[in-house]
């Protein structure tokens, strides 16, 4: 759309596209969020083949199948159109998610269970790879040039909102199956985990109905009517120098940094709170939920702002902020959750010690568990492990519950990271759309996006964990990965990316 007036029914276009994309993210995340339960149901560690399939489900879906889906569906979207392609990705995603909820456990059908779940997870990854490019392209091709950042930023909210909805649904179901919390969690781990998967079919059904009523993107429809559709989008995208150099610039100067900032701000933050700071399961999740809730409107703020000042500097500022503030933020997490800070608090309750004795590899191990609750609502579980070998007992502090003040401090610390996410992620759909001509846009923008997010972003937890095993003294060493990747991306982005906002999302390349 080269004119500056919003197309008629633009909100319907945004609504239909965003809802479907949100549902796809929700579908993708519930598998990740329920990984532990799914592993116990389908991938028992006692069976090496099942454990192997579990590894494949974890790594192949995100790292290989997602970029592959970007190529498969990107090509399709540039050949047959955006509307039918992102309708197909939605059907595949919704169908596979629903089916995961129906697969009998390993105990019931044996080896077939993990194989089916693996295949369904791969279909999920494939569908996700095709969805985003279609939705972003579809909205951008309906939007006037002076509001492209604003309108596409609604699509950008969906990844974070999908995470929000998945966390919310899981927490609700986990607590809603019985009036007794412990029984409810037990039921959830037994069969209740299927509900979030099954619910998906209703959401997908509504979204398919809405999307079916939409028209094809006007720019693509025009291209098709003029017979100018690309005959080989993959070849045109990745072998023509003019396009390939923009694909590479999009990846190394924008999506690579955006991916790591996105993963660190949301997934790594939660994982750090839970595994390093040992914050209670529910508090670590509700902290993230609040931060996402407060942060999400900023996707639209920065997307809209990018229409006025350009996309580049907002994204670069987000990366710079991440580089500068990650370590101070995570240092605050460590300091505020240190058990030493609890010493000044008034202890109001100490549970009677629970003693567990077991023999591990011939060594008698005694674990004493005490729950300490303080006057301000803070609490933690103290586990003292002693062995009959004469070694000094080891004391662990887990399941820490933060007092209200510290809790909200954590919310704002995560919010700051979500804010960086909104800076790098809010304008990126408009940025990517404007880099490529209509005839190969779906293909060309999908691949760098999914390599940036799926590969560079998805590697964050693994590289972070690896770094902590190499340097065990520095608990913040895991942050080196997102900081270094963001720094390289920042240099490339600042030097090579143009801040010019393209007036026409049509063929300018």
């Amino acid at each position: 759309m080269s004119n500056s007036k919003p197309a008629k029914g633009i909100w319907k276009v945004i609504g239909a596209s965003s809802l479907g994309t949100l549902i796809e993210w929700y579908d993708f995340y519930i598998f990740g969020s329920l990984a532990t339960v799914i592993a116990s149901q389908f991938f028992p560690k006692t069976n090496p083949t099942a454990a192997l399939l579990s590894t494949l489900a974890t790594f192949a879906a995100g790292f290989i199948v997602r970029p592959f889906g970007a190529l498969v569906f990107g090509r399709l979207g540039d050949l047959v159109g955006r509307k039918y392609t992102f309708l197909l990705t939605l059907i595949l995603m919704g169908g596979s998610t629903f089916a995961i909820g129906l697969v009998p456990s390993y105990e019931s059908i044996g080896f077939a269970a993990p194989v089916i779940v693996l295949l369904l997870r791969l279909i999920q990854g494939l569908a996700l790879g095709g969805e985003y490019g279609g939705a972003a392209t579809y909205v951008a091709e309906h939007a006037p040039h002076n509001k492209r950042g604003f309108f596409t930023s609604w699509i950008q909210t969906t990844a974070t909102l999908g995470l929000f909805v998945s966390l919310g649904v899981i927490l609700l179901v986990r607590h809603g199956l019985d009036s007794d919390v412990n029984k409810s969690i037990e039921k959830f781990n037994d069969w209740g985990w299927r509900i979030p998967f099954l619910v998906s079919i209703l959401l997908v059904g509504v979204s398919i109905y809405i999307r079916l009523k939409m028209n094809e993107s006007p720019l693509f429809a025009k291209l098709k009517s003029e017979g100018k559709v690309s005959s080989n989008p993959l070849k045109e995208s990745f072998t023509h120098k003019a396009n390939l150099k923009m694909v590479l610039l999009a990846l190394f100067g924008a999506t690579m940094g955006q991916g790591v900032v996105w993963y660190t701000g949301q997934f790594y933050a939660q994982s750090f709170m839970e595994t390093v700071c040992k914050i209670d399961f529910e508090q670590s999740r509700t902290i993230l939920i609040w931060a996402i809730l407060f942060g999400t409107p900023f996707f639209v703020v920065f997307g809209s702002w990018s229409d006025r000042i350009g996309r580049k500097w907002i994204m670069m500022a987000g990366m710079l902020a991440a580089i500068l503030f990650y370590r101070p933020i995570y240092k605050q997490f460590l300091t505020a959750s240190d058990v030493g800070t609890y010493q000044a608090k008034e202890l109001v309750q100490e549970s009677p010690p629970q003693v567990i004795k077991e023999t591990i590899n011939g060594t008698e191990v005694t674990t004493t568990v005490v729950i300490k609750t303080f006057a301000d609502g803070a609490a933690y579980t103290e586990k003292t492990v002693s062995k009959n070998t004469g070694d000094q007992p080891t004391v662990f502090h887990v399941d820490k519950k933060l007092d209200s003040g510290t809790y909200w401090k954590f919310v704002w610390l995560v919010f700051a990271q979500v804010l960086f996410v909104t800076m790098v992620y809010g304008p990126i759909a408009a940025f990517l759309v404007e880099m490529f001509p209509t005839r190969i846009r779906y293909t060309s923008m999908s691949l760098p996006y999914h390599i940036g997010n799926g590969v560079f972003g998805g590697l964050t937890p693994f590289v972070a964990l690896l770094l902590t095993t190499i340097n065990t003294d520095d608990k913040l060493i895991g942050l080196s990965y997102p900081i270094v990747v963001s720094a390289v991306c920042l240099v490339i982005g600042v030097l090579y990316v143009s801040n010019k906002v393209s007036k026409d999302a049509d063929d300018h390349a």
Partner: protein, 75 residues
């Protein structure tokens, strides 16, 4: 001046590609030697398979930068 910087940094990107693969393979070999189970092999195998085309992409990006493909008239 900026164009010159863009151009010469092209060499950095061209070197960064093979260097990152070298370190990745080195770390993978060490990790697999430490935990020689199929899970570790698959995990690192996937990382290397995915990283190779990305590293090649970085080399091509560096080459384009060196050839002045990203130069701008106004700097």
């Amino acid at each position: 001046m900026i164009n010159l910087l863009r151009k010469w940094l092209g060499w950095v990107w061209m070197l960064l590609g093979p260097l990152s693969i070298f370190y990745l393979v080195k770390i993978a070999a060490a990790e697999i030697a430490m935990h020689p189970v199929i899970d570790t092999k698959i995990q690192w195998g996937v990382f290397i398979i995915v990283a190779i085309p990305i590293a090649i992409g970085l080399v091509i990006f560096g080459w384009y930068a060196w050839k002045g493909e990203y130069d701008r008239k106004t700097g």
